[in-house]
Amino acid sequence: MAADETHAEVTPTRGETSTRTPVKSWTLPGVGLLKGLGVTMKHMLKPAVTQQYPDVKPNLPARTRGVIALREDNCTSCMLCVRSCPDWCIYIEAHKELAPPRRAGGAPRKVNKVDRFDIDYALCMYCGICVDVCPFDALFWSPEYEYSEPRIADLLHDKTKLGEWMETVPEAPALEAGAEKKKGK
């Protein structure tokens, strides 16, 4: 009984699928082969899409995510990037320094001075979570990509190198019309 019911359910769906497939009109045998030959010939006559990389620089989008750059002045060594990094490839060391007070007569401020900010690009998987979590706009995506090294240990880049890449970071695009203004300073 149960088998009959399933059978009754299956039959209409079968009919449905068969009506859905369009009936092919008859074509001359070999027409498809000739069409295929036409496609390959067309592609041969078109210019190739290959870019000869070391001779010709690739035409990349302006905001390409090539490498992570650091604006050292913005970094407070809060360690958010270090802790959110899935690969643990960011190393920060810092010490406290006294800075002049904000208002005259106030107590001197204590600021964190970054001694070491290294990213090990042999480990980094370019997920960009550090850039996202940074609350002080210290980390940016740079379109730079030519930083390979002969030795894998040399891929551990320090804050000087990360700072140099800041120059290649493009200006942030303007906010869309009607977008919420950024709060704070």
Binding site: L33, L37, T40, T50
Partner: protein, 341 residues
């Protein structure tokens, strides 16, 4: 070739005369010419394949070797092949394994002996020319069988047996199509077949045009070129009979493949495209016409490789026995009727 030497001999004094009359000297020169052609023409086709295939896929192909558009890529490949280690599997049948590349390659060298590149530019004009050509081109598969069997490798053996089965299936339409041309021309000599096309190339006759298509399909299959490359289907059996080969021996198989393309293109242009005969109004030397036709057919073979996916083994056999052989018999029949009436 011979006439050129003879013409020189007529004008120059006795020492050259003696040399031209000397059988062994002439033999040595002819051998050098054939081997020289066999070593260069497949390289040109191989390079063309690199480039044409690349551009059909939107790539550039070799661009570095030799400076200008990678023209020396195959020379570099040759140097690389020579440097590679020559590995023979432990279980392999050593003498057979080492002999197989030569057996696969030599028939295609021998083929060039009978191909006419001009009214007098040929090595020999055999009375049984086309018969010789087809018989010799069939030997090549023995080399492949030897390679497959001697490798002691299951993939190699499957590949070799596929190659043999493919040759048996496609040799028949190849011979029948050629037989129709022989009936048309009334001679088996390659030179005679070209001369018989003096008023009209064979391909212009509709029944021979069908024969040309059959011949080219069968030639593709005999060369195990895509879409008939099941004997070397890399997704199924690695590289068929050549799986265990390395270095120079492997290069010989490749040379045999590309030499085969040149040889069968040459035979097809002799049989159907009027060989060295030119079109009226275009003043080109005879051998240039022959080269142009070989080049055009070789380009077609490369074009097919870029376009068509590989057939399945049973589809290949079915196509040969059910479609091509009856069709080629029909071509023979129509040729007989037209020629007799």
């Amino acid at each position: 070739m011979t006439s050129l030497l003879l013409a020189q001999a007529a004008t120059e004094p006795s020492i050259v005369n003696q040399l031209v009359d000397n059988f062994w000297f002439v033999l040595a020169i002819k051998t050098l010419v054939v081997i020289g052609f066999f070593l260069t023409a497949p390289m040109v086709v191989g390079y063309a394949e690199h480039k044409v295939l690349a551009h059909m896929q939107g790539r550039l192909g070799p661009m570095e070797a030799g400076g200008f558009h990678g023209w020396a890529q195959l020379v570099a490949d040759g140097v690389k092949f020579i440097q590679k280690e020559d590995i023979v599997p432990e279980a392999a049948d050593r003498p057979v394994f080492s002999m197989a590349p030569a057996v696969a390659m030599v028939p295609y060298i021998v083929l060039f002996v009978i191909i006419p590149f001009g009214p007098s530019a040929y090595i020999v004009d055999l009375d049984v020319g086309i018969f010789f050509a087809i018989a010799v081109s069939g030997i090549s598969v023995i080399g492949v069988l030897m390679a497959g069997w001697a490798s002691a490798n299951k993939f190699a053996l499957i590949g070799a047996l596929r190659a043999a089965a493919q040759l048996i299936a496609y040799e028949l339409p190849l011979i029948l199509a050629a037989a129709a041309v022989v009936m048309q021309a009334g001679t088996m000599s390659m030179l005679g077949i070209v001369q018989a096309q003096e008023p009209m190339w064979n391909i212009v006759r509709p029944w021979q045009a069908v024969g040309f298509i059959i011949f080219m399909i069968a030639a593709l299959a005999e060369l195990t070129r895509p879409p008939f490359d099941m004997p070397v289907a890399d997704s199924e059996i690695i590289f068929g009979a050549y799986t265990e080969y390395t270095g120079l021996k492997f290069a010989f198989f490749l040379l045999a493949e590309y030499g085969g393309i040149v040889a069968l293109s040459a035979i097809a242009s002799v049989l159907y495209l009027g060989g060295y005969l030119g079109l009226p109004g275009i003043p080109l030397p005879a051998f240039m016409w022959m080269f142009a036709k070989i080049g055009a057919l070789a380009f077609m073979i490369i074009w097919f490789r870029a376009t068509f996916p590989r057939l399945r083994e049973d589809q290949l056999q079915r196509f040969a026995w059910i479609t091509l052989i009856p069709l080629s018999l029909l071509v023979v029949l129509v040729t007989a009727i037209v020629e007799v009436s």
